[in-house]
């Protein structure tokens, strides 16, 4: 008998940390993006994806709204908007 012992990552979906956002969320404007990938690199959650210019977006199921992506974006193409605004993308 073993009980809770190991976790196979394939089965792990993680916690729905997007529920932590209370104030603001990043809005990816997808206008001036140069695909520098800095937003993806800096995201502590690793929930930003994208390959081509103006395709980058975040997964709001996980995004905690820390604002680092908006802060680092050299083209100001990500802006933090109020969580209650309902403006998802």
């Amino acid at each position: 008998m073993f009980g809770p012992l190991i976790v196979k990552p394939q089965k792990s979906k993680g916690d729905n940390t997007g529920a932590w956002r209370i104030q603001s969320r990043p809005k990816f404007l997808q206008k001036d993006c140069i695909a520098c990938r800095m937003c993806l690199l800096v995201c502590p959650e690793h929930c930003i994806s994208g390959k081509e210019k103006n395709t980058y977006q975040t997964d709001y199921n996980y995004c905690k709204g820390c604002g680092l992506c908006a802060r680092i974006c050299p083209k100001k193409d990500i802006e933090m908007v109020e969580e209650s605004s309902g403006d998802k993308q």
Binding site: F2, G3, I6
Partner: protein, 396 residues
């Protein structure tokens, strides 16, 4: 093949036969000869193994933990303070269900510092989740290591096993030992196949945080597995007999002339040899005395102890450790517990303590135990206690 060997080198030889891939240890008396022997065996190319010299016992246990988690058979040995320094890792290894085998060269605990034998070190770790087997002589030491790997690594068990041998008495004692042949060892002990391992081809996470929703089940699972070991150990003992010819019966206890005995001493480790001699002497005079030797202290074979002693009027439990502040010594507590709430039970189960810090348990000491096993139950009765050393002031 029969060899005349020091106990420590007998351990080194049998570990060689078990082919561990990672060995790690830190020196402590009286464990040193074991790992010195193994270091030489590896240095001579007789064993293909990674011998990792570490900076503490804590790291020795951690290294074998890591090696075992990576899917390799591992070995370490320690003693006394070393084992206690390891204790944090000892619990961890059991909790992670890694089948580490460790030899404990039993020695007392400080303070005062004392390098000689008793069983306080391993007994103090009885709650850690390890299987603990105690050897009477060096043939048993050798055989119990083979059984330890076979048992611990079985997919139904996956628990670490501590083989306990009395420091100096066994580790430094010269005895004739029948050292098994490699082909027989390989037959009895197949290569280790881990249930889980750290492998980039199949990533997994080990040693996770278990919150109140999960923690209890990890402990329950070890407890249930320990119960299973009570059933499984006899089967392994039978396999062992079939391969090597030596018979440890259920490998939980050894009953020595207990069947019709009126007085039985319960003990574990090398002192059982001394007790057997006294039993023989008493039997020669027609006195019905016997010995119940405990081989498996964890899991503790309550049912077997019950069966062996239920018709014995007087039982003396001889401990080489104490549970300071408790009502009886550790082994005595277990024996008493075996009769808790039972209709049949000895009239007397007395708890004796002897052999602490290496004080010899002589034939006279054992006779003293039998002498004090009267109609009046005693608890924590010290044998060979020097009253004159107990004064009101420190240092007298």
């Amino acid at each position: 093949m029969k060899q005349f060997l020091e106990g420590s080198y007998a351990v080194a030889e049998v570990i060689k036969l078990c082919r561990p891939g990672v060995i790690s240890a830190y020196p402590i008396t009286p464990q040193t000869h074991i790992v010195e022997g193994l270091a030489q065996i590896v240095a001579d190319g007789e064993l293909n193994s990674q011998f990792v010299n570490v900076e503490s016992e804590h790291s020795a246990a951690s290294v074998v933990l890591g090696g075992s988690a990576a899917g390799v058979r591992v070995y370490t040995a320690s003693s006394s303070q070393g084992l206690i320094l390891m204790s944090e890792v000892i619990f961890n290894i059991a909790g992670m269900r890694l089948p580490v085998v460790l030899t404990c060269a039993n020695r007392s605990l400080s303070a005062p510092i004392n390098i000689w034998n008793d069983q306080q070190d391993s007994v103090s770790l009885r709650d850690a989740g390890w299987v603990q087997l105690y050897a009477e002589n060096n043939q048993e030491v050798v055989d119990l290591h083979l059984i330890a790997y076979r048992l611990g690594e079985d997919k139904s068990v996956m628990l670490p096993v501590m083989v306990c041998m009395d420091g100096f008495i066994l580790t430094h004692g010269m005895e004739v030992v029948d050292m098994p042949e490699q082909d027989k060892v390989d037959k009895f002990l197949p290569p280790y196949k881990p249930l889980y391992k750290l492998d980039p081809d199949e990533p997994l996470s080990m040693g996770l945080l278990a919150d109140p929703g999960y923690y209890t089940e990890t402990r329950f699972a070890i407890q249930e597995t320990q119960k299973e070991v009570l059933k499984f150990l006899p089967k392994i003992s039978e396999e062992f007999r079939n391969v090597f010819g030596r018979d440890y019966r259920d490998c939980l206890v050894e009953e020595y002339l207990t069947e019709d005995a009126e007085r039985v001493i319960v003990a574990m480790g090398s002192v059982c040899g001394t007790i057997k001699k006294v039993v023989d002497d008493f039997r020669a005079k027609g006195k019905k005395v016997g010995l119940l030797k405990i081989i498996s202290f964890r899991p503790f074979p309550y049912a077997r102890v019950y069966e062996a002693l239920k018709n014995v009027p007087k039982v003396a439990v001889l401990d080489k450790s104490v549970s300071l502040g408790g009502m009886a010594a550790p082994l005595a507590l277990e024996v008493k517990a075996a009769f808790c709430g039972k209709k049949k039970a000895p009239k007397i189960i007395s708890s004796f303590v002897a052999g602490l810090g290496g004080r010899d348990i002589t034939l006279d000491s054992v006779r003293e135990v039998l002498k004090k096993l009267t109609a009046k139950e005693v608890n924590l009765e010290y044998i060979d206690l020097k009253q004159e050393l107990l004064k009101d002031e420190y240092g007298g």
